[in-house]
Symmetry: C2
Subunit: 172 residues, 2 copies
């Protein structure tokens, strides 16, 4: 299910891109600078909007990289505008499009490490379920919450995107 | 991976329970009514805290039920206190503890429906990835964000809980 979940993350990043577009429209309609969104936050000691977007992007990118062993592009966290954030989201979507199901064949048993774990490791399966998926949705949802809190009209459909619904059975 | 993801949801619900305990402590320390948290929200037209908790609980519960075919207990959405919300979380944790991996053997191909889909269906696999997992983490993260926004001292460790880290290799 690794590949399928990364496909879903890619879909969610495309929705995130849409929220940024709606945020820019909202700002223009209210005559304020769209890029002021980058500094908005829900609590003084929580990450601001730009950082939430960066971490959502990095969590998806680094998880796909670590679980497949494929190198990930580096992004320098220097975005100053909504357009630059959208560009980053687009690059991560392109990166995720480069994977196939076979890339994650050995993911379950890979040994995953991060600098902050000081030499400790997690299995690929544990890392994916306990760390990557919860963190991705945490920062994605916080980006959404910051926009909603500041007046951008987003709804559950903007969050989930189009569902793969199958037509109702024909009862003629 | 269905069973493993529900195990992770169960872990996240136990973390949610911890946040409610910390919210109650915070309120007592500031001498305000802990149960006022139930009505707090991030935007006038977003769900309040109580509803975010109820939906996080229901999303996990209903997804496990729909993907396994096992009946789920009904909860009436009448909680008026943090303690009552914690009781509901506890009941969902107990419900999720009753599942085994085998319960989800046919989950991928199950036909899932909801009243609001007007007869349309989703495959179990699509429903899980496109709907259940994103919605669960959305409402969980919003519950977290509402508490953080209102001063409760939560951190990423409270969100993720204890990770299954393995000791660093011994290099003697």
């Amino acid at each position: 299910m690794y590949f399928e979940m990364f496909t879903q993350m890619r879909k969610q990043l495309a929705q995130l891109d849409l929220w940024l577009e709606k945020a820019a429209e909202f700002a223009r309609g209210k005559s304020f600078d769209p890029d002021s969104f980058l500094g908005f936050r829900l609590a003084p000691d929580q990450f601001a909007f730009a950082r939430q977007v960066q971490i959502a992007c990095d969590t998806a990118k680094l998880a796909a990289s670590r679980l497949s062993g494929k190198e990930a592009p580096a992004f320098p966290d220097t975005e100053q505008t909504l357009e630059q954030l959208r560009d980053r989201i687009g690059k991560v979507i392109v990166y995720l499009e480069g994977f196939t199901s076979a890339d994650f064949d050995g993911a379950v048993t890979r040994s995953i490490s991060q600098p902050r774990w000081e030499g400790k490791t997690m299995s690929g399966a544990d890392y994916f379920l306990e760390h990557a998926v919860p963190n991705f949705f945490f920062h994605l949802s916080h980006a959404y919450a910051i926009l909603r809190h500041n007046g951008v009209a987003l709804g559950k459909r903007d969050y989930l995107g189009t569902l793969s619904l199958r037509p109702a059975p024909d009862h003629r």
